[in-house]
């Protein structure tokens, strides 16, 4: 008899919590995969495709499904660290195949530049640009909207006359970084 009561009570509790969980899963249902959104927010959004996926969001989705976290070259080690923190996995060194030339951290960001005299107006770069940062029309000269360019490099290869090159953005007062060694600290006696 006692055992029967115990079973009934436990069964009732189990049913109650089951119902509660079921209700919660319906009530607090989240559309989409939140981890993908979080991963996407960590990625640099250059949309460069160097990871082998057509853009940052697809790579985020792939990472959520178990792809290696070390394929984002523009993000560098910082991004890998953040993704590792988020996913609770070990930090991996950046994939050699996806490493950029030199250390990308210290160098100023680069943007594409069209040598306008050489441009033949083929629109190939416009089709390649993932963020629509190239302005132009067929048989008209093209130009880069520097503020929108993510420096992804994707327009360089399709150009048939090699008139696109990557240039560093000039260092100005606005983007200048303090160099600690240049300023001596003052200590009055």
């Amino acid at each position: 008899m006692n055992i029967l009561i115990a079973i009934l009570v436990l069964g009732a509790i189990a049913a109650l919590f089951g119902a509660l969980l079921g209700y919660a899963s319906v009530r607090f249902h989240v559309e989409g995969d939140p981890i993908v959104e979080q991963l996407d927010a960590l990625l640099p959004q250059t949309q460069c495709g160097q990871c082998g996926y057509p853009g940052c969001k697809p790579y985020a989705e792939a990472v959520a499904n178990g792809e290696a976290i070390n394929k984002c070259a523009p993000g560098g080690e910082d991004t890998i660290k953040k993704i590792a923190d988020l996913l609770g996995v070990d930090v991996q060194p950046i994939d050699e195949n996806h490493e950029q030339d030199g250390s990308s951290q210290s160098i100023l960001p680069k943007v594409a530049f069209i040598i306008e005299e050489d441009c033949i107006g083929c629109t190939k770069c416009i089709q390649a640009c993932p963020v629509d940062a190239i302005l132009g029309a067929a048989k008209q000269m093209h130009t880069i909207i520097t503020d929108e360019c993510t420096g992804c490099d994707l327009c360089v290869a399709p150009c048939p006359v090699d008139c696109i090159e990557m240039r560093s953005t000039p260092e100005t007062i606005q983007n200048w970084q303090w160099d600690l060694n240049k300023i001596a600290v003052k200590q009055l006696d």
Binding site: V131, W176, A184
Partner: protein
């Protein structure tokens, strides 16, 4: 807090305190006893287009233009931009990038003026009674005069004074708390009336309940001068504050005078308080009353490395080297810090070092050619005894011992030690949590640090990094939006294309059905096409089968291969020519590989065209042969049994003729039969007649 109680406290000479603060050696006596010296005109002035926070204006002048003193050189419709003016008359000799007064030592666009020495003024409108001017007129005058806060940050003044009513306190910052600097002190001593005029103009604009002039008690002469100038003004109170660094910080001064703390991320204006620097007040009175734009300022040249330290009235754009020369600065080249064996190419650091700004908040300038701008209040050239760290390129920083002195002196009540660790670890999130952006860069923490950690520098680096990161975040967000938009657009284009194709297919089907409705069914059309193909095939067969047979055909067949061969030869020739041409082109040095390829392609195309021609010729020949053969077959009826339609008809014709002949023969036979019958009958008759005749004879 009620305003009256604040005023009561102030009247009693009681003030509030802010947290922390330091008491560095003042060193103001070096220059405070000497009057402000007028400088002779320098040969050249360098005017950076942007001398303040905000944006630079658009240029109004070109190289070679002659400009008059006080003439505006830039303008802008943007409210955050303030114009710059020609500090004296002269000719614009260049507009180019030049090193400016910034710790980075970077170059920005500057105007170079060759001074003609005449100092000719532009036409000025002197306004004796500013009380008749409307608010808008005064604000326009201030904006046109290019006045930006002269205390340090350089915020455009016309924006700060153009506020909604309801200002409780207008605070005039005459504290000048940083050691060595005496520029404001002497300005107050010498120009107290003008400063009070400026305060009155601000009073007219803002109509605050009270005007408080905050001044430290280490400037007795300035206090006296101000008290004299303001004795008839009930509203203006000169508040003599105890000397403590950094009382001159905006938030600190507000706290000392009113006891109010300005919250993180809010402006003093939200608490009904406006703070203006005393030098800005002087500039406002100059601009509104005398129509003199901001073209000069008082600069303190001080430090033991100068033979004649003094305050100067310096025109904006005067190069620091010129001022140093006037103050008796002896440059000791290669004496102390720039060792020739240093592995890195040493930057052009003036030796001994020159600091722009005060000793606590200033920065070493990397080039003595930098110009004085609206915010430069002090040039400090210390000796090695005064400031050994400025001479030492290698930092003497040692590990933090966690003594906590920095937290004790921080006027913003931050935790400098924690901030330092987070800054070194580049933990931006933690830095934001520790309210890094409340740091006013006062340098008190670095001053007291026994480990000589350059704390402020770490914070500056971290602040710059965070700002840049924020910019990057904004940019990446924008890139994301654009990427998504592009993806959506491409998707839509794809769908649109598919729909178009579908529509086109449907249209084709519809037209087909229409035709079938007219009469001929789709099936019949197909059948007709099939029949045509069959006929063609059959014709080809005939030719092949005929070749060995008909001798007359042979002639034509012999002709046609010849023709084909000729056509082929022609094609070859043409192709060769093309090849030669292309090879010639390839020899040309200018021709790129892509051009070559294109020509090769064209040559191949030519060849294929020639081949085509030959084939066409062959086809024509074949067709001719076929025609000839057909004719023959129709004439020579009996020779062949063939399946072509024409052959069939001829066969039919043949059959018909034979049939006709048969008929004829049959008819003839019948006739003959009939004739023979008749003959037989006649013979019988004759026999009968003869018998009867014989019977009759017998």
């Amino acid at each position: 807090m009620i305003i009256e109680t604040i005023i009561e406290r102030i009247n009693q000479g009681k003030f509030w305190h802010f947290h922390g603060g330091i008491y560095p050696s003042e060193q103001k006596s070096i220059t405070s006893s000497k009057p402000i010296k007028q400088l002779s005109l320098p040969k050249q002035l360098v005017l950076p287009l942007q001398q303040h926070i905000g944006r630079q204006g658009d240029l109004l002048v070109e190289v070679g233009d002659k400009v008059l003193k006080g003439q505006a050189l830039t303008q802008s419709s943007n409210p955050m931009a303030v114009p710059v003016h020609a500090p004296t008359s002269g000719i614009i000799s260049a507009i180019k990038k030049s090193v400016i007064a910034h710790p980075s030592g970077l170059s920005e666009l500057c105007l170079f003026i060759d001074v003609d020495g005449e100092d000719t003024w532009k036409k000025r409108e002197i306004c004796q009674d500013f009380s008749k001017l409307s608010h808008q007129q005064i604000i326009k005058k201030i904006a046109d005069a290019g006045i930006a806060g002269m205390g340090g940050a350089g915020f455009p003044t016309h924006i700060k004074v153009n506020t909604k009513p309801g200002i409780n306190f207008l605070i005039i910052n005459a504290v000048e708390c940083e050691p060595y600097i005496t520029a404001d002190d002497l300005l107050m001593c010498e120009q107290s009336e003008a400063i009070v005029d400026g305060i009155k103009i601000l009073d007219q604009l803002l109509s605050p309940s009270f005007i408080l002039i905050g001044i430290e008690d280490n400037k007795p002469q300035a206090i006296k001068a101000l008290q004299q100038a303001t004795q008839h003004h009930e509203k203006i109170k000169v508040c003599v504050l105890p000397t403590k660094y950094p009382t001159g910080g905006e938030k600190q001064l507000i706290q000392v005078l009113t006891g109010k703390e300005v919250n993180t991320g809010t402006l003093p204006i939200n608490s009904g308080i406006v703070v203006q620097n005393v030098a800005t007040c002087f500039a406002i009175s100059d601009a509104v009353i005398n129509d003199i734009p901001l073209i000069r300022r008082v600069v303190t040249l001080t430090g033991s490395a100068l033979a004649k330290p003094q305050n100067f009235w310096a025109l904006l754009g005067t190069q620091v080297s010129y001022l140093l020369e006037q103050a008796g600065f002896v440059s000791e080249v290669n004496k102390t810090n720039s060792t020739p064996n240093s592995p890195q190419p040493s930057p052009p650091v003036p030796s001994p070092p020159v600091i722009m700004g005060g000793p606590l908040m200033g920065f070493s300038i990397l080039n003595e050619q930098v110009p004085i701008v609206k915010t430069s209040n002090c040039i400090l050239a210390p000796s090695k005894i005064e400031m050994p760290s400025a001479f030492d390129n290698n930092s003497n920083e040692v590990e933090c011992i966690r003594c906590g002195q920095c937290a004790d002196v921080c006027p913003s009540q931050l935790l400098p030690q924690e901030l330092q660790w987070s800054a070194k670890a580049k933990d931006h999130q933690q830095l934001m949590q520790l309210n890094l952006f409340d740091c006013i860069d006062c340098g008190a923490c670095a001053y007291v640090c026994p480990s000589q950690i350059p704390l402020v520098q770490y914070y500056r680096v971290a602040k710059a990094e965070i700002r840049q990161q924020q910019q990057l975040d904004i940019k990446s967000e924008k890139a994301k939006v654009r990427f998504e938009a592009r993806k959506l657009r491409l998707e839509q284009e794809k769908i649109a294309r598919q729909e178009k194709h579908k529509k086109a297919a449907a249209a084709r089907k519809a037209t087909m059905n229409k035709k079938s409705a007219d009469g001929s069914t789709a099936n019949s059309a197909v059948a007709a096409a099939l029949a045509r193909v069959k006929a063609k095939k059959a014709a080809e067969k005939i030719i092949n089968s005929n070749e060995p047979l008909a001798s007359s055909n042979k002639v034509t067949d012999e002709i046609s291969p010849v023709k084909v061969a000729i056509a082929r030869a022609k094609a070859k020739k043409l192709g060769k020519q093309e090849n030669i041409e292309s090879s010639l082109n390839s020899n040309k040095p200018l021709a790129s590989s892509s051009e070559k390829q294109a020509q090769k392609h064209s040559a191949i195309n030519e060849q294929t065209i020639n081949d085509k021609k030959a084939r066409i010729a062959a086809a024509v020949a074949k067709a001719k042969a076929k025609k000839f053969q057909e004719k023959k077959s129709s004439t020579e009826q009996n020779e062949l049994s063939i399946e072509t339609q024409s052959e069939k008809t001829s066969e039919k014709a043949q059959n018909i003729t034979t049939e006709a002949e048969d008929k004829k023969a049959r008819i003839a036979a019948a006739v003959a039969k009939a004739k023979s019958k008749a003959k037989l009958k006649a013979i019988e008759k004759a026999q009968q007649v003869s018998t009867t005749n014989s019977e009759e004879s017998t």
